[in-house]
């Protein structure tokens, strides 16, 4: 890590900062001012930091860091191929800025929209949650995101409401050499039920940065399914932090699919703040060429009777590099916790490599915790079996690689999204064999 570069990076970052937050709401002004203050104190993460040991993000420092411009002339017809086939509530952000002309809300009684707009009517509710879960004190990129906080999605689900159609958050990048700040806050009240899709795409091929922060709060008995699809171009940098707070007997299911970006990093923190909360976190990383994809998750059991399950899979080709760090904390009070985690990795080429670290920290004795990790290639016996049934070597390899990835994708309940991702995996596996 070049210290001079990171210094320049910080300088240019600080220069592009608004000198003073201009928000009319005083608490928000305060929040941003604190974050701006914090930026100067933080250090750009380098390989010397344990959290960033395997992920060298120094190429980032070579890019200019202007926040993106607001103007966008995107038409519905330019992006309709990205929409879900099912009826959905769609919020579109272009380069981090809300695009109302492209968005479409079909559930009338849903509180959903752009943060600054909803601030007028829902200030107290937003204040209670915004910035409360994604702590920026020790996270460089969350701090930045908070300092530059402008547009963002705010979704509030009323008590005992079940949102029938999924909410599709479409983040589109159209400008090269900019930083796009994305923010999302989902607050689900008692007994509510919601499906949220975060979708990151790019409509150009040059480098840029996405800095995304998502905060999710589930009240008692609330239920959320959260699908996160990162399919940005292969020059992009994607840095995301997602924090989830679970109340009593709430359930959180998430599937994270990482296909794109030159360097991508996802921090996913789930806190089981009260008894009998449940989470199920799955991930699929499918990368090739020179891509680097890093997934850091932390499942923190704070109270008894929690349940967590996690499966993370990586399919790595070319000279790509995947990193997985899955931490499970079981605090002293969290008796009767049931937790399982598995990290499975498929190396398809001799240049591909993986650094995985499933980590358990347990402070309670009456718990069931297990984790496992495997690294390997396709099973020769399985290949042989398929060949003995008349498939060619290539077909057999395709089928097995596809099946390896499909296990994760099948957990997505939105069928058009699932099909699209299955196709993406299929395309990639075919590409692999065609070489």
């Amino acid at each position: 890590m070049n210290t001079v570069a990171s210094h320049d990076y910080l300088t240019s970052l600080l220069q592009s900062l608004p000198k003073k937050p201009t928000d009319s709401v005083s608490w928000l002004k305060q929040l941003r001012a604190e974050a701006i203050d914090q930026i100067g104190k933080q250090k750009f993460p380098s390989l010397r930091d344990e959290e960033w040991r395997f992920t060298d993000i120094s190429p980032l420092t070579k890019l200019p860091y202007r926040p993106s411009l607001t103007v966008s002339d995107l038409q519905l017809t330019d992006i309709d191929h990205l929409f879900l086939e099912e009826p959905s509530n769609r919020l579109v952000f272009v380069n981090g800025h809300y695009a109302p002309q492209l968005s479409n809300i079909i559930d009338a009684n849903l509180i959903i929209g752009n943060l600054p707009v909803l601030m007028a009517d829902h200030s107290s509710s937003i204040q209670m949650h915004l910035g409360q879960y994604a702590q920026y004190q020790d996270n460089f990129f969350t701090t930045q995101n908070t300092a530059f906080l402008q547009d963002g999605a705010f979704i509030s689900i009323a008590r005992n409401t079940s949102v029938p159609s999924p909410i599709h958050l479409l983040n589109i990048a159209t400008q090269p050499e900019v930083t796009n700040y994305m923010r999302c806050l989902l607050v689900a009240d008692t007994g509510s039920d919601v499906t949220l899709i975060e979708d990151y795409v790019s409509l150009q091929e040059s480098a840029y940065i996405t800095n995304a922060v998502t905060e999710i709060s589930l009240a008692p008995n609330a239920q959320a399914r959260h699908y996160r699809v990162q399919r940005e171009n292969k020059n992009a940098f994607h840095l995301a932090n997602c924090t989830v707070a679970l109340a009593h007997a709430s359930r959180y299911q998430s599937v994270n699919v990482a296909l794109g970006a030159q360097i991508s990093r996802l921090n996913l923190d789930v806190r089981l703040n009260d008894e009998a909360a449940e989470c199920c976190i799955d991930g699929l990383t499918l990368i090739t060429d020179n891509q680097l994809s890093d997934t850091h998750t932390c499942i923190d059991h704070l109270k008894p009777n929690g349940n967590s399950q996690q499966q993370h899979k990586c399919i790595i080709d070319g000279s790509a590099h995947a990193v997985f760090n899955g931490k499970i904390m079981v605090r002293p009070q969290a008796q009767q916790t049931n937790s399982s985690q598995s990290s499975r990795n498929l190396l398809l080429s001799s240049q591909a490599h993986i650094d995985t670290k499933p980590q358990l920290e347990i402070f309670a004795d009456d718990v069931k915790c297990a984790h496992g990790a495997t690294v390997g290639q396709l099973d020769s016996e399985e290949l042989f079996y398929l060949q003995s049934r008349g498939l060619s070597m290539n077909e057999a390899r395709n089928l097995l690689t596809y099946a390896f990835g499909a296990e994760i994708i099948n957990r997505i309940s939105v069928s058009s999204l699932r099909q699209r991702l299955e196709q993406a995996v299929l395309n990639q596996t075919q590409q692999i064999q065609d070489r």
Binding site: E50, L348, A352, K357, L360, D365, A370, A373
Partner: protein
């Protein structure tokens, strides 16, 4: 669980006593003069002094590591006396001439040396504080060409071997404590098995810290030439002291083509009292180099003592088809902390490694498994299997797992699994039903839990380890 089990663990340390032998102690502190003093006291050749000074220079530039999952007050390295030796006496011709005080100590420890040597056929190279006092069975070993002596003796009698291998696996600047050891090590064991020789008996050494306030820095070097086989045993006990003692040993193993080294440890240094006062800081660097083709290095450890255990016996699998093994049981109770595990570095083709780690935490203790499996791009067909299980006894202890897996070769197969469990009410009830009381039930469950590791120990150690574990955990289950 029952109160009877609560009482099971809190047994006082059985080996806590101080032997009164006049010691020759160097002034406290560390500087070049002290290193020269150690070197001259030991009458060492110039190259070894240079080795020490070089290590000291490296050490000065290093800072104490802080990434580990253990906590302890800062060590004042200038407050430690780096040399202490029993006063030199006339050369001993037989066991009868050994200081009777010393012999009594060993008897208290349950190591009747002559008896043990005769009955068990074990050659014991006894380390008392830092200087080797007596060596048995040396002549018998010499017949087949095996050199087994203290490292200071080896420096004088086999300088070419020591010079060639010392620091070759763990370079002087490897880490903070290895550098410190390289600068100030006073004694240790040296073992050389020549080409094609299968060592006719298990080799063993007893380490023991005696003088209060003196850190002990042993250095062990085991070399197995082409086709040689050796099983080396190391066992530790220490007397009860209130001030913390630093123990920073370095162990290097070198296995050439087709050689096989098995290194077993039972560690029972003083762990401090139930309030976490006192106890040994056991910061050890152990590494084996499987240099030749088809070579094998196997570490087995039973870690029950020390206030802090911090060590990672590692294998560098350089030779094609070489094998690395690590079997470990780590038991912590009261305020003990253990951060232990292994590193398997796969460099050669078709290298294989197995890791079996069992951690048992009781009381307010914390134990961590920290392991690294690295498969280099050159290690075609590498294979690793790791299993680390933890058992928690009580709700105030912690168990942690930090397995790093780094794979750079797509023909490698790496598997890791970990689990945690506890001694269930239902299990105890089942035992009670069959007329077995809680104490014995716990001991049986624990022994079952650790069976995979105990099987790897040489017979007499396995018996000792089983006993050690039961009295270590007495009173902790409740």
């Amino acid at each position: 669980m029952s109160a009877a089990l609560q009482n099971l663990v809190n047994q006082p340390y059985k080996h806590g006593f101080v032997t009164n032998i006049e010691s020759d102690v160097a002034p406290k502190g560390l500087n070049e003069d002290i290193i020269r003093l150690i070197s001259s006291k030991k009458n060492e050749p110039e190259w070894l002094l240079e080795f020490r000074l070089n290590a000291y220079q490296k050490w000065l530039t290093m800072s104490e590591p802080d990434w580990q999952n253990v906590h302890y007050p800062k060590i004042d390295f200038q407050a430690i006396s780096y040399y202490s030796a029993p006063k030199p006496k006339k050369k001993l011709a037989s066991m009868d001439e050994v200081d009777p005080e010393l012999l009594r100590t060993f008897e208290k420890l349950g190591v009747p040396m002559h008896e043990r040597a005769a009955l068990a056929g074990v050659a014991v190279d006894v380390i008392f504080d830092s200087v080797s006092v007596t060596t048995t069975y040396k002549e018998k070993l010499a017949e087949v060409g095996i050199i087994f002596c203290s490292i200071s003796e080896a420096v004088h009698e086999h300088p070419e071997l020591v010079k060639k291998y010392l620091g070759s696996v763990i370079p002087v600047g490897d880490n903070f404590f290895a550098a410190l050891n390289s600068a100030v090590f006073t004694d240790g064991s040296f073992c050389f098995i020549p080409k094609g020789v299968k060592c006719p008996m298990d080799l063993s050494t007893y380490f023991r810290i005696n003088t209060e306030g003196s850190g002990q820095f042993e250095r062990t070097l085991v070399i197995a030439e082409e086709g040689a086989t050796v099983s080396y045993l190391e066992g530790c006990t220490a007397p009860q002291f209130d001030t913390n003692q630093l123990h920073a040993a370095v162990v290097e193993l070198i296995a050439l083509d087709n050689a096989d080294i098995k290194y077993s440890t039972v560690q029972n240094w003083y762990a401090g009292d139930e309030n976490g006062v006192g106890g040994i800081f056991n910061f050890v660097t152990k590494r084996g180099l499987a240099k030749g083709v088809n070579s094998r290095i196997s570490w087995t450890q039973v870690e029950t003592g020390s206030a802090i255990t911090w060590k990672y016996p590692s294998c560098i699998l350089r030779g094609d088809n070489s094998v690395g093994e690590f079997y470990s049981v780590a038991v912590t109770n009261h305020h003990q902390q253990a951060d232990t595990g292994t590193k398997m570095i796969h460099l050669g083709k078709n290298t294989r490694s197995t890791i079996v780690s069992k951690g048992i935490s009781a009381g307010k203790s914390n134990s961590s498994y920290r392991g690294l499996v690295r498969v280099a791009p050159t290690a075609d067909g590498a294979r690793n299997y790791s299993q680390c299980d933890s058992m928690l006894i009580g709700d105030q202890c912690g168990a942690h797992t930090f397995p790093y897996i780094q794979v750079r070769n797509n023909s490698a197969q790496v598997e890791h699994e970990a689990s945690t469990s506890k001694i269930g009410e239902d299990q105890l009830f089942y035992f009670a039903q069959r007329g077995i009381d809680a104490e014995e039930a716990v001991s049986m469950i624990i022994n079952g839990f650790c069976k995979d590791v105990f099987q790897q120990l040489p017979m007499e150690f396995a018996v000792e380890a089983t006993k050690l574990l039961s009295f270590k955990l007495e009173g902790s289950v409740g």
